[in-house]
Symmetry: C2
């Protein structure tokens, strides 16, 4: 349980305070094998999930059956918080184990309605966590709304430069995922990257990029 002290949901709390709070809300640990579904798209859930070990992905399926990876989760990632918070909403994503993984589920309502003096603190952390997810999504929306592939790529790289703080940086998406993120064809992305390199705007090799502008 030591890992939870690093979790954004319990940030600022000691290990004993965390176990103390958890004693007031029903929770259980569950293990999943590679490929097992943790949450189905369409499920209505009332639990917060925390990845204790291993990895999981959030995917969704477009109307025409294409699979899109929405998020990659590793240890200490939280899911189901926004979903539980909205009350009554169906999960827009399927959460699936990538390799064996362990997940801690915490009853959302009991945690929320707990009168434990520190529950307040957890709520504040939760608001912060949800708000951050909102803005991450917001950033992506801004990019998706741009019309040309080039402007999308530039906007993305500019964003990365800002968060990384250097003109040369590695991104954590491969071409397929980057194309999905930008909402373009993988081949169209490759094509535009070449053009941008030819135009002297950027340089890149694999997932290492340099921005010249």
């Amino acid at each position: 349980m030591k890992i939870l002290t690093e979790n954004t949901l319990f940030k600022g709390l000691t290990e004993s305070q965390i176990t103390d709070i958890l004693s007031t809300a029903y929770h259980r640990e569950k293990s999943f094998l590679d490929g097992e579904i943790i949450v189905h798209q369409g499920d209505v859930i009332n639990n917060i999930g925390i990845v204790l070990s291993g990895n999981a992905t959030g995917k969704k399926y477009t109307p025409d059956g294409e699979e899109i990876i929405v998020s990659n989760m590793k240890a200490n990632s939280i899911f189901g918080d926004v979903l539980s918070g909205a009350i009554g909403f169906a999960s827009p994503v399927t959460v699936q184990a990538v390799g064996p993984c362990r997940v801690l589920f915490i009853d959302y309502n009991q945690l929320l309605y707990s009168h434990h003096p520190l529950a307040h603190h957890v709520l504040q952390n939760m608001i912060q966590s949800i708000s951050r997810k909102y803005f991450a999504q917001n950033k992506r929306m801004d990019i998706l709304m741009l019309k040309s592939v080039r402007s999308k790529v530039l906007s993305y790289l500019e964003w990365q430069r800002q968060t990384k703080g250097t003109n040369t940086f590695a991104i954590d998406l491969d071409r397929r995922l980057l194309a999905d993120f930008l909402g373009v064809e993988r081949s169209a992305l490759s094509r535009e990257l070449s053009r941008m390199k030819a135009d002297g705007l950027i340089d890149y090799h694999k997932n290492n990029f340099t921005l010249f502008i």
Copy 2:
């Protein structure tokens, strides 16, 4: 202040409970004239804003200077909640008065850290409010990711049918706003709507739509 009993942030509380809670957090009411800026894009704020009367819009500007209306706010709309919740984030939007309007600002931290017994309740409402905004955004992202204008329109209309519950319904966006929402050209939207009518998929007049599929 009676209007606040209808506000999602104070849902479930009586008028006297609301004034009671407000007494623990710094708040002020402010009036704005038509066109006045309430929040500038890029501002870092620590207040929750509630529109008491009048209307306001949330706009943002694309890299190439184009103005996009992101949201329309009326009485009891809340803004700044997600922004304050994320702590340290710059506002991605400019909030501007449309006609004269009054806004109630509440200090976010004092409301959040209040030890008032009902503050917990407000926090829960806030989580719900933010989560809902997240999912509204999420829905839009799904639509923006589709490639063709037709699929975007169909996805949007299908969504409207589901929320409205009938095959015939009025939407609350005009063509300009709908085009922005879908991330397409206004003329391209009009063109595709005509085609879809010709193909017998839909019928429409102004903002009244009927879905045949």
